[in-house]
């Protein structure tokens, strides 16, 4: 499977269509609740399919190792990002912490697109990688907040809801819940719901990425806070984090497909779960900034270049 094959898949082409449409200022828009419905569908489908695969393969040492590696990595990656954002990016501590949290966490849609590409290329990641995805969503929020709050006194703010927001976040609950359901029902009972969750998967991903393309460009245009230095970091960070991820995956002995998925989780930046938590935890941080960087720069970069890059890197490391 060459990179051309990835780039010419309908999923990617719809993303490009969204980018172009927004770039020429077309009024094409996806209704908000349709976008939300599609993201709920994608999370349920990804969880179910992962769970069914784990139920078929059984618990394995690889699963535990990958889960622990994901936990540690998600906690650790923001420290490096924070350092780079402050020094090279010239960002204040508060915003650097918020941005760092996004890059430590992971993006469901990037993972979904990568799974799609890997499966098409005959190197489908292990089912348990979905659980790793869910595990990696949250620890980064903790380290991001620790970093941001050094020297920022907090009192009487809506922060009481933050831990709830983080741990009981809708996407984490839906991902892990669907994963558990998939593991309980197994392959036979998955059959009746397969036409929806497997059959529609790629088609829904197309329309969802169309929307992401539209939103990425529009957000970038509306935002004023993105400097050239920060824009460069939004490309450098996924390359750095993804390479670290690929090495760690190699270290814990994942197969090439799972290792590529792991690298992409490390490379990707959250633009749904973490921003929602940051708005409550760090309300003074600028959402325009961390959303533009993760959604409008890093996300397209990963979709178009990161996925083929880390597939190639993981394949090379596996030799």
């Amino acid at each position: 499977m060459g990179p051309a094959d990835t780039l010419l898949s309908p999923v990617i082409l719809f993303f490009v269509l969204g980018v172009l449409a927004a770039a020429v200022r077309s009024d094409l828009t996806i209704p908000e609740s349709m976008a939300k419905a599609m993201s709920l569908f994608l999370m349920a489908a990804i969880g179910l399919k992962g769970g069914v695969q784990v139920s078929a393969a059984g618990l394995s040492g690889g699963m535990v190792a990958a889960g622990l590696a994901g936990l540690v990595l998600s906690f650790a990656l923001p420290f490096l990002a924070f350092f780079l954002l402050r020094r090279w990016g010239r960002l204040d501590g508060l915003n650097a912490g918020a941005v760092a949290a996004c890059y430590g966490s992971a993006s469901v849609v990037t993972f979904a697109t990568a799974s799609e590409a890997l499966t098409r290329g005959g190197m489908a990641p292990a089912g348990y990688m979905v659980a790793v995805l869910a595990i990696m969503e949250t620890p980064a929020i903790v380290s991001g907040m620790l970093l941001a709050r050094r020297g920022t006194p907090g009192r009487g703010r809506p922060g009481g809801h933050v831990w709830r927001e983080v741990l009981l976040n809708g996407s984490v609950v839906l991902l892990l819940g669907s994963f558990a359901i998939g593991a309980i029902i197994g392959k036979a009972r998955y059959e009746p719901i397969a036409p929806m969750f497997t059959g529609l998967w790629s088609g829904v991903l197309c329309l969802f990425l169309l929307d992401m393309g539209l939103i990425a460009v529009r957000r970038l245009r509306d935002s004023k806070a993105v400097t050239l230095r920060l824009g460069m970091l939004a490309v450098a960070l996924p390359i750095i984090n993804g390479s670290i991820g690929a090495l760690v995956a190699r270290g814990v002995g994942l197969d090439p497909g799972s290792a590529a998925a792991f690298a992409i989780l490390a490379a990707s930046a959250s633009y749904i779960a973490v921003p929602a938590a940051m708005r409550l935890a760090l309300p003074k941080a600028d959402p325009g900034l961390y959303l533009s960087l993760s959604l409008a720069i890093t996300f397209p970069f990963n979709i178009l270049f990161g996925i083929p890059l880390f597939i190639a890197l993981s394949t090379a490391l596996a030799r």
Binding site: R157, P158, D222, K224, P275, R279, G288
Partner: protein, 103 residues
Amino acid sequence: MPKLVRRKRLEIIADLEFADWLADEAEAVGITHFTIVPTLGGKGVHGRWRNDGLGGQGKCLFLSVTSETRAEALIDRIGPHFSDYKIVMDVADVEVLRGDRFL
């Protein structure tokens, strides 16, 4: 008009995630009635935004008709957070029937 009494109409524009917090703060000063209205987008010092259903952009309009005393109490209480939480508020004079329902 029959028994119309003066009250204050508080209109607060804030991130949707702050709705529960606003309700708690309102409750703390004795305001127990409110309605939340959705928004489509807007513009402020933090730039243009659209409610696109993905993280970080949804705002709502928190509406409460209440007594002057309680309106003041709420403003005193949450006013200091306005610039941190990007909250925008205006207060207007209105008249209502059944004044006892608007404390």
